[in-house]
């Protein structure tokens, strides 16, 4: 079936003061069809989407040679009034992080009504009715939602509101920039299904930006692969994914496949426990003056032996990060105890003594936030050495070794965090943790913020380092494939409790806890089924 092209873009370039960020990009989107733009972060796919909307950030502009047509009529992507006339009526957009994309000061209903007013719907009553209808269409049928503020909704609900807002003008083209990346796996699945259903019922075309090939496979008719600002490969989704022409595309496609074919090699673990958690509970202070404390974690008990990896799997709000924070002494236990090498944490003594802290190290989700932007990589990684009172020369040698061990070029030592990529930053964080020679490494969503290809590299690195050095690892994550791949044993958490525990290779078994099966069923590559 060949549909008439709705949007045609030719020779699109996006110029920054120091050079072009996107070059010679050409694509078309047909009526009712979906084009997925895929690529690693920094490949220019989001900028391409924003340029298509005429929403480039200040300082960037569409290059002079760019040509585009919308329904056959020429479209000047750099012409603000012309683009504004299209936005919200013919083209609408959904973004990545719904929380920050909604106005925190306005009720949901008002924000949707505003989009309806813009789309030309007169009369407050008509708008109110239409708002409720739109909310119903995104499966938020209760009229109470219209009166809520964005912060009173969950991430998935916020994204539904964004979608409802985008639908207000009945657009012909929906541009969706990583709309599910900031959401939990199961919520991701729901929102993806919703988008598919809406596209089908409204006959909308979609330009879908993602780094997740499995998602692209589910959604897209056509796929265009981007790398360093150019489209390097394009074609029908099935062809690009099954028979990629470039090694780069092949790498993107196979990244997840490596995780799915987990080599469940038995590793030489010992029986010597590094961590023992007994009946642990953690409370958060209640809201308001007389609010009851909120129990975020209850009745957690498990042990972790040297050289082994324990996976903590759960959605946001399941208490898994709280558990990780309590283990490294960042949260006070309300009940129970945590036995670590050399100390025991309880409600009375919730912190690890200074001298023992090096033995328990933490790697965070967002490496950019975990590194001081004003220090060089060498200073950052060498901080533990300086605390241990080591000489400069000795510290320098150790840091260089650690940097090499995490697979980084020693030439990066003089750089600052913003001058290296996200994957490289996470390697620096790992190097810094390793320099403390920890008995226990706690990784809190350590790969969630990274591209699929980089994810696999970091996971392989962690596994290799563990084999070489024999530390115990607690790996917290929401992605069953990732956690199942790296861990020996997996604990599944739900609403502050451990609801299931099993060997990692048994995670996919049919007789697992209902919630475990729920998490596994929501993986993007299972959605098409």
């Amino acid at each position: 079936m060949t549909a008439a092209p709705l949007l045609v873009v030719r020779d699109l370039s996006v110029l920054a003061p120091h050079g072009a960020l996107v070059r010679d990009v050409a694509f078309e989107v047909a009526h009712g069809r979906t084009l997925a733009l895929v690529g690693e972060s920094g490949s220019g796919k989001s900028l391409t989407a924003l340029a298509t909307m005429g929403l480039l950030p200040p300082g960037l502009e569409v290059g002079p040679g760019t040509r585009a047509t919308f329904e056959g009529a020429p479209l000047a992507l750099g012409d603000e009034p012309a683009m504004r006339a299209l936005r919200g009526r013919r083209i609408a957009m959904v973004f990545q992080d719904p929380m920050s994309c909604l106005n925190p000061f306005l009720r949901i209903g008002a924000q949707i009504a505003e989009a309806l007013q813009r789309a030309g719907l007169r009369g407050a009553t008509a708008r109110r009715q239409r708002t409720l209808a739109l909310l119903g269409e995104v499966e938020l049928a209760d009229p109470a939602y219209a009166r809520r503020y964005p912060h009173e909704l969950s991430g998935g609900q916020q994204q539904r509101v964004m979608i409802a807002m985008a639908l207000a003008g009945s657009p012909d083209l929906l541009v969706a920039d990583e709309p599910t990346s900031a959401l939990d796996t199961s919520v991701q699945a729901e929102v993806t299904r919703l988008l598919l259903r809406l596209q089908d019922s409204r006959g909308m075309a979609m330009l879908f930006i993602t780094h997740d090939l499995a998602l692209a496979r589910t959604l897209a008719d056509e796929i265009a692969v981007m790398r360093t600002g150019e489209i390097v490969e394009a074609g029908p989704a099935a062809r690009v994914l099954s028979a990629p022409r470039l090694a780069y595309t092949e790498r993107l496609v196979s990244a997840r496949r490596i995780l799915l074919s987990a080599p469940a090699t038995e590793r030489p673990g010992s029986d010597e426990p590094v961590l023992a958690v007994e009946g642990l509970a953690v409370d958060y202070p209640g809201k308001g003056l007389f609010g009851k404390p909120l129990r975020a974690l209850a009745g957690a008990s498990f042990t972790l032996a040297r050289g082994r990896t324990l996976g903590l799997l759960g959605e946001s709000g399941s208490g898994k990060s709280t558990l990780a924070a309590a283990i490294v002494g960042l949260r006070r236990p309300a009940e129970g105890r945590i036995r670590l090498p050399g100390c025991t944490l309880t409600a009375e003594r919730p912190t690890i003594p200074q001298a023992l802290r090096r033995r328990c190290q933490l790697v965070f989700q967002n490496p950019a936030g975990a590194l001081n932007p004003r220090l060089t990589i060498e200073r950052l990684a060498g901080e533990p050495m300086r605390l241990a009172g080591m000489s400069r020369a000795e510290s320098r040698d150790r840091v260089a070794d650690a940097i090499a061990a995490v697979g980084l070029d020693p030439a990066l030592l003089g750089r600052y965090p913003h001058q290296i990529s996200g994957g490289q930053r996470q390697r620096v964080c790992i190097a810094r943790a390793l320099l403390c020679e920890p008995d226990l490494l706690v990784c809190d969503e350590a790969v969630s913020a990274l591209d699929a290809t980089v994810q696999v590299q970091i996971l392989m690195l962690l596994r290799r380092l563990q084999q070489e050095r024999g530390f115990a690892m607690l790996f917290v994550g929401h992605d069953p494939d990732v956690v199942g791949w790296i861990a020996d044993e997996v604990l599944v958490m739900h609403r502050g409790r451990i609801v299931d525990r099993c060997a990692a290779r048994d995670l996919g078994a049919d007789d697992r806890h209902e919630h475990t099966r729920c998490l596994l069923a929501a993986r993007p590559d299972r959605l098409a089924a």
């Binding site: 200040p58 504004r84 609408a92 973004f95 920050s100 106005n103 000061f105 813009r118 809201k287 308001g288």
Partner: protein, 303 residues
Amino acid sequence: MNTLAGLALRLGKMLLQAAAIVVLVFLLARVVPGDTVDVLATQGDLTDAQQQVMRHELGLDRSIGAQLLAWSSAALAGDFGESIRFRRPVAGMLATALPTTLRFAGMSFVVGLVIAFGLAVMAATSGSRRTTALIDAVNIWSIAFPTFCVGVLGILVFSVWLGWLPVLGSMVLPVLIVGIDSAGQIVKPLYEELREATAAAHVRTARAKGLHPLRVVVVHLLPTALPIALTLSGLVLAGLVAGTLTMEVLFGLPGMGSLLLNAIHGRDYPVIQATIVVIAVALVVINALTDILHRLIDPRVTA
């Protein structure tokens, strides 16, 4: 319910602050060596016996606690005692001075906000170099030139040389000077905040909805900067209370500033005490109002 509890808590805090100020001002006046009767005694010849009688009449021979209690219960009823110099009720003197100061401070506040918001919004949305340069100029002006210096120069230029304005009693010049000075104190952080807000994701969403630029600014951009703007406005208002006092004296406006200065010259303790208490309580109320408004504006702040 939660909002109400928070509101009650904030109001309670405000009352405590006000009470603390009253006590502090009262004690300060008593710590200074020599009381009102001593001052009067140096001006006229008063025998010791006469002084004793006067002290008794004025209640100065009672304990500090008793004096404080008597003074504050009277003050609550609107009775601030009698001016020693003019033999008139202090409350009446305050009542004639206060409207002038309120008018002066209020007008300066409005002028300041209009200048600050106007420049900040213009610069943040247009990114024009000229406007940002103007913002810097106003900012440096307010740091470098104290209002009373500009005031003296202003009188020289506009009243003495050009003869456009009367030397005393006109509010035009002082309102402009204090207004620009206030604007200079807040325009820079306000601009930074607004510039950051223009890059905020929800402002981009508003643009993606195809809204008119003016609507994007008014409905989506300005509220984002409102909490900061409110805090800054509170600071300006507080600064105005002090700033207007010197300007009143300079421009001969019969407000609280002139009243206070005259009272200090004449060691008129009841007047000094009452004026300072009124000013301080005004500051406390402004502070509390800023907090409460902040709560009302931002739905995310609950407790």
